[in-house]
Symmetry: C2
Subunit: 306 residues, 2 copies
DNA sequence: CGGGGACATAAGCTGGGGTTATGAGTGAGA
DNA sequence: TCTCACTCATAACCCCAGCTTATGTCCCCG
């Protein structure tokens, strides 16, 4: 993330979550008072909070009138940025909630790191709207750990990544984790018209995760040869940062890239003739077809076998 | 966003930004004390803050030892979710900062709503690492407004979307806003093997923005006929929510979809034989080639003409 | 065996955000 | 025109989260 000398800290320049939620509520409901009521606080509290947020940002956010409150132009812009933060917070929330309720919950899920990080919270948000009262617990670990938990009846549903299904488990492919090649927009590859081929990819020094990591394995299996590292880094985030800084082409899981792709801060380079993907599977003990909440969750994860 | 009865409010279950930043610093630096120093607070403050975050989440996040602190397994998971929030906050920050410094700044940008919302903050984050001391101001408005500002020398660089370039301006296409068709994973289209064609798209009732909106215009221009609305909604977010809830296929700008696509909560349905995209252009007064910071920013926005 | 890290604990201050109580516009209807 | 019902703003007060300083404990290393 290129931590520049940035004195002050984000927290002092960005309103806190409560204020952002309040702003969204005002936008939706068109009135400070109504928004306050929805969040369970009083109207003066809401009024003061919005005001102090406007002071902090140095911009008027809402037009007050005796008939209600509407967003300013600037307010509309700010509200959309705020919504992104709140959505990220929702992901955090359901993830953390699942993590917390270890023991005593109704649906116990065991998942690989990648899935637990990027996919599960989204599914759980969806599950919550369908079955609001289901408490979920989450354990993250590798395939072996997931299998152990399922077989010991300490988990109801598991998720694993990779080519093999652990023994004793039935599985269904629910999606694929695409490993993709990206560069900064300034890189020459970003202007290519023809897709890369395997030979070219194998011949080019790339920004990679360390040897043995999931994405690296997928890449080398697909190439049928060892990859040539330009830099080797031990975290997905570090790889992303290097790529963003223009150090060179990087290989990353598509799941780790959110906004960077759609905002064109990183460009996806098409690759042809190489199967750069890894199956993501739901798993359960052989015979024990998922039922109840596990079945609901499984239904939500059904994606096309693209 | 399907506001369920969700009592309590996110803010009470999710640590505040300061705490999340602290957690990231601890993860990066491997020590509470060092992290504290980096954020400009004392070691006991950091210690207590992390502890209260652990209490709040009900999970141990860091392993303390007299030699330093390392993340727990759960801590690593939580840290990655936290990073998403902090990144969204950074986007908010640079956007808001640009919005605030209206008058007295060195680089004045005028941009269409879509670009100001989704693209500009990312570019400004990148610009900040290259030119940390450049103050940027941002005005959001439609093409006409952008053109006015540029011609009145009240802006140094503009960004507009749509097929035409306002008179008196030079332009360069920097990217394309792809309008795409998405459905929930449960929708039959999510399992199609063949791309949609124009006739099929025109014949199917779709979840759309209101008539006259940008994405709707692109869609109807591409189809050469009016679209058939299943539901008409007045905000991008509302369209997204409806699609997520499985109400039907929706048409949205790719820029508005972040995590939903990569996490497969919404599935992109390929469409063939239809040009569902709109040029995004940088613009400046004819003759006045951008120089200085404006030139730097323009350089950052260069993306392939995909 | 004495530093010097690293983290924990304790006591005290401060301020942001909450509350209640009240005032003051505006518009709609009797 | 008066009054009610709605909006938002202001004032006075309270509380607690989070900060600070000052100290204690543990462990490793020279």
């Amino acid at each position: 993330m290129s931590e520049s000398a940035e004195r002050g800290g984000l927290a002092h320049r960005v309103p806190d979550l409560g204020a952002l939620e309040l702003l969204l509520a005002v936008a939706r409901l068109g009135s400070l008072g109504r928004a306050a009521r929805e969040l369970g606080i009083t109207q003066p509290a809401a009024s003061s909070r919005i005001r102090s947020m406007e002071r902090q940002l140095g911009v008027a956010l809402v037009d007050r009138s005796p008939r209600g409150s509407r967003l300013t132009d600037a307010g509309a812009l700010v509200t959309d940025w705020a919504r992104r933060i709140v959505e990220a917070a929702e992901v955090f929330d359901v993830g953390a909630q699942a993590l917390r309720d270890r023991r005593d919950s109704r649906l116990r899920v065991a998942a690989s790191m990648t899935i637990a990080e990027y996919l599960l919270p989204g599914w759980l948000i969806a599950l919550r709207t369908a079955r609001p009262d289901t408490a979920v617990s989450l354990l993250a670990g590798n395939s072996t750990v997931v299998a152990e938990r399922l077989l010991a009846d300490e988990a109801d549903l598991g998720f694993v990544e990779g080519p093999t299904v652990p023994a004793g488990l039935d599985a269904a492919v629910i999606a694929h984790d695409h490993v993709i090649v990206v560069t900064a927009p300034s890189h020459p590859w970003a202007r290519r018209r023809k897709p890369l081929d395997a030979a070219e990819l194998a011949a080019t020094p790339l920004i990679l995760r360390e040897k043995g990591s999931g994405t690296r394995q997928v890449l080398e299996a697909a190439l049928g040869t060892l990859a040539r590292p330009l830099i080797e880094l031990s975290s997905t985030t570090a790889v992303k940062s290097s790529a963003l800084s223009g150090a060179g082409p990087a290989v990353l899981s598509e799941l780790a890239l959110g906004e960077e792709l759609s905002a064109r801060r990183l460009i996806r380079i098409p690759v042809e003739g190489v199967r750069l993907r890894r199956a993501l599977r739901a798993v359960w003990p052989t015979g024990h077809r998922p039922t109840g909440p596990a079945r609901d969750l499984l239904g939500l994860t059904r994606a096309p076998l693209a």
